[in-house]
Symmetry: C2
Subunit: 358 residues, 2 copies
Amino acid sequence: RRSYSVTLIPGDGIGPEVVSVARDVLFLVGSHEGIEFRFQEVPMGGTALDAVGVPLPEETLSTAKDSDAVLLGAIGGYKWDSNEKSLKPETGLLQLRAGLGVFANLRPASVFPQLVDSSTLKREVAEGVDIMVVRELTGGIYFGKPRGFGTNESGEEIGFNTEVYSASEVDRIARIAFETARKRGGKLCSVDKANVLEASILWRRRVTMMASEFPDVELSHMYVDNASMQLVRNPKQFDTIVTNNIFGDILSDEASMITGSIGMLPSASLGYSGPGLFEPIHGSAPDIAGQDKANPLATVLSAAMLLRYGLGEEIAAKRIENAVLETLDRGYRTGDIFSTGSTLVGCKRMGEEVLKSV
Amino acid sequence: RRSYSVTLIPGDGIGPEVVSVARDVLFLVGSHEGIEFRFQEVPMGGTALDAVGVPLPEETLSTAKDSDAVLLGAIGGYKWDSNEKSLKPETGLLQLRAGLGVFANLRPASVFPQLVDSSTLKREVAEGVDIMVVRELTGGIYFGKPRGFGTNESGEEIGFNTEVYSASEVDRIARIAFETARKRGGKLCSVDKANVLEASILWRRRVTMMASEFPDVELSHMYVDNASMQLVRNPKQFDTIVTNNIFGDILSDEASMITGSIGMLPSASLGYSGPGLFEPIHGSAPDIAGQDKANPLATVLSAAMLLRYGLGEEIAAKRIENAVLETLDRGYRTGDIFSTGSTLVGCKRMGEEVLKSV
Ligand SMILES: CC(C)[C@H](C(=O)O)[C@@H](O)C(=O)O
Ligand SMILES: CC(C)[C@H](C(=O)O)[C@@H](O)C(=O)O
């Protein structure tokens, strides 16, 4: 009987509702597959700010570090939006990513055949889209120094940040991207702005150098402005995309919206060793929090990624993914993916239906 | 008889073909409206690199500065893609923007009723989209210092750039954006990443401060990752968008692809005084260069923006825009916007048809 400790961070808004569903699913799959989970729940984000005055309490980070994997709901909300930077919920998330050293963020953007009509793109454009965005997560302009506020020569106030990458930072994310592409369609597109930025020139050079180690992967390069167009024009041209932290933030959200079902999309953030961080890509949706309206499937699928990438439990991961597909096939839909002819359910009920299919 | 000097920069790839059409259109409209144009043609980009070894010859910049407006085709091509940074065609364009001080880049992304089906978005999502992206063009990470290559504490190679904005840089672009929004739908959405970047926090603060001067404009703020999703989800929610140089690069290209007719979209880059720079948003398309296949309408519409924003010749501007719409109504299409039932024509012929409608 394998036993794992999993840190649960429900967070803010709809976070607690969706994490609770995913926890039940993990528990049931575990009982079928002979896996024991020990869950610890810890605060982060706005909830932590309200309780103890910081967005990432030390104990939350140490609990997370000592566990085998971390499952996060969502953080943030209007209430804390005008907090100063060190007291923003988002700062807690950035500190957690840095603290866990999870530099590789895997964000699948796949169209579910059952939900292709939720996309705003024409059926023939959206159908079959299956993209994996590999986003660098602990470097670049999110963390680069110097940063802050100051005054320029004219005595005027300025705000500044530094986009910086080192060779080894690019190498390690590029390696994961090549390995990911090799296991998928064998095509890797590296996105940068090498016609303008030195940080991108280094990025492109290092990615290109690594290509010789992966002769079976077809590497291409694309400027970020073009990539944002091509995702709309013909998303099917992409298999695996690798890019920096800020471009990855923008493009992975664009790609996920193209699938039409952002409430369905999970993510995994991985380091070299230590626990991975798994979270839905949607936000905390404060407007529908506590109303049993949230779609828990992105978090349930994040739990599947947790099993696959975090714990190496492929069979259990597939079992969850199949249960989600079967639940969709049986016609259950939360409001965000509802269409006529299907059965509208709330967050809890959706969870119960997934449990039946597990 | 008003008389203006207009600098023409045909540039690379399809640039010369489309600029030649736009020049003829300007000439004819001028003769109808009693406007005389003196055209000077100067090299930039790859063409200049090949001819004199630099992407922006001094004479090109000084000719441009001394004229009343600058019309640019497109620059760049595979041939110069691996040049070092100072010898890239793109560097010439950046130097021209900086040299002319054109800090405000206006990029309309409007769906032409005749072309709504060219969009990959569903008809009901694309129909009626009419967005103006106001992009800051001479600041931010494109120009911020320090920048370059170096080594970090571990002796590893790094590449770095600086995202920086001063209060007055934000103020001047915000003012143009508010004024633009006031003349349009009265809604301004400022896009930033203020939950992570100090440069964005300053940006948001200054934009917010200016709102009191424009009580008739409804201001909202959006994070850039969300904006890239919302453009796909429901582009009609946007009227005017204001954002920094790099986010504007990405989002304006995404917005233009949503219209489905990137070969139709013009842009204007304006400073406080001195000539504005007008160019189609599409690239140099080296693969179809010299084959009489390019769509000249984006450049023709850039000439209309030149008349409106550069020379204050509103009547002549409208005359060009109406001629383009009429030509579309008469069914003429270049390959990029072709659909069954319409008449496929080349670049030159499309130009002739516009001339007939002028
Ligand atoms: C909340 C925010 C700091 C975060 C980011 O920008 O990384 C989010 O947008 C994401 O993509 O996970
Ligand atoms: C060619 C390149 C330097 C340029 C930019 O990034 O500004 C282009 O993409 C644009 O948007 O005009």
